[in-house]
Symmetry: C2
Subunit: 217 residues, 2 copies
């Protein structure tokens, strides 16, 4: 077990470490055994020092003069991120996006197991998607407590997100990923993360415009 030095770790570091894992997996499949920070950086689109710095928060995983052993590094990062275990997840709101996520097999592969899904629409209750039966939202709090679920995913319409969050909080959840484009309030001890990929479209659109403006100057 590698000791994490006790420093606050930049959230950007966490996101990058996840990318490193992803690229290391590709490399492993290609039969690459050893990789330098320079080459890994190149394929992740970051600076080599950045990689070494990011890793330094968690320990020493490389061999000077040699590089990193792909398999070992991947495992070490996963362990550092707490990804060497599985997390039980529940979903609230089984609509278009919810269904897509339920059918997304990569979640399980990454250690996130959706153990239950809830919706308030009586027409959806009882339906089975990817082996999960949709249940009535009223059962949520007790279920999550019983199953020891730690993470909740919200995929309801935005105006229902707070209500969904309240159920999850009542169910003793420790973290929420909210896909609805609305802010929610939760107690201090509940970690909340927002996902909204329209932001990414905004960002691309904005950068295209900037590019064009720059081109004209």
């Amino acid at each position: 077990m590698h000791l994490q030095k006790y420093e606050r770790i930049p959230r950007a570091t966490i996101a990058r470490l996840a990318v490193y894992v992803q690229e290391l997996e590709v490399m492993e499949q290609q039969g690459i055994k050893v990789i330098s920070s320079e080459k890994l950086a190149w394929s992740c689109g970051v600076n080599p020092s950045q990689i070494r710095k990011d890793l330094a928060y968690f320990g020493e995983f490389g061999v000077r003069g040699v590089g990193y052993y792909v398999y070992e590094l991947r495992e070490a990062i996963k362990q550092s991120l707490g990804m060497d275990r599985t997390w039980n997840v529940v979903m609230v709101g089984v609509g278009n996006l919810g269904r897509a996520l339920l059918r997304h097999h990569l979640l399980r592969k990454r250690g996130f197991v959706i153990v239950a899904a809830f919706d308030c629409d009586p027409f959806k209750i009882g339906e089975e998607i990817a082996g999960i039966e949709v249940q009535c939202t009223s059962k949520l709090p007790q279920s999550t407590i019983d199953m020891g679920v730690e993470i909740g995913i919200i995929t309801t319409p935005p105006e229902r997100a707070q209500r969904a969050a309240n159920y999850l909080i009542e169910g003793g959840i420790k973290g929420i990923v909210n896909f609805a484009p609305s802010r929610i309030t939760a107690p201090e001890n509940v970690v909340v993360e927002y996902v909204d990929f329209i932001h990414n479209l905004f960002s691309v659109a904005f950068n295209i415009t900037q590019h064009q403006i720059k081109g004209l100057l």
Copy 2:
């Protein structure tokens, strides 16, 4: 038209501006006409100075001693982000996620119109989803040129993402949003943005663990 001062704008600012728009819309629906940076900050989960600073990149939109007029500010931000127009978008890969996005009406509301969808699976070609007929990928480059499409969304499996990107690039696209968990290479003049919400799950999981560790100390 507000003049953008010529400075590089932090990418985080762009993401936040999109959140401000979202919250301003909610406030507008609630009949709120004027808002202070402090109150807006509160509901967006950021610092008030941050809001004022973010806005300052694009101009002066408020009234000292009063605050910001909700409607005007929203419009001003949208204009600054280049969101006062519509963007034509194409999708490559109509699977679980692709379908969800095609049916996601908020995209259109935000000015992103999916004008065509492509897949290489013969069983999917010809199918109609949310009014869009799935076409064969081989038609992509010519179609995007003909329709003047500027943004491409990739929702293929990761190992196909580069191929999808190549089609888009051939079709003269200016920006790509890649939902597949793999890096792609594209010419300098093509803006690429990656979306992977497993990162957000990682982040929540990590923060839950940290929280618990901190609790123990």
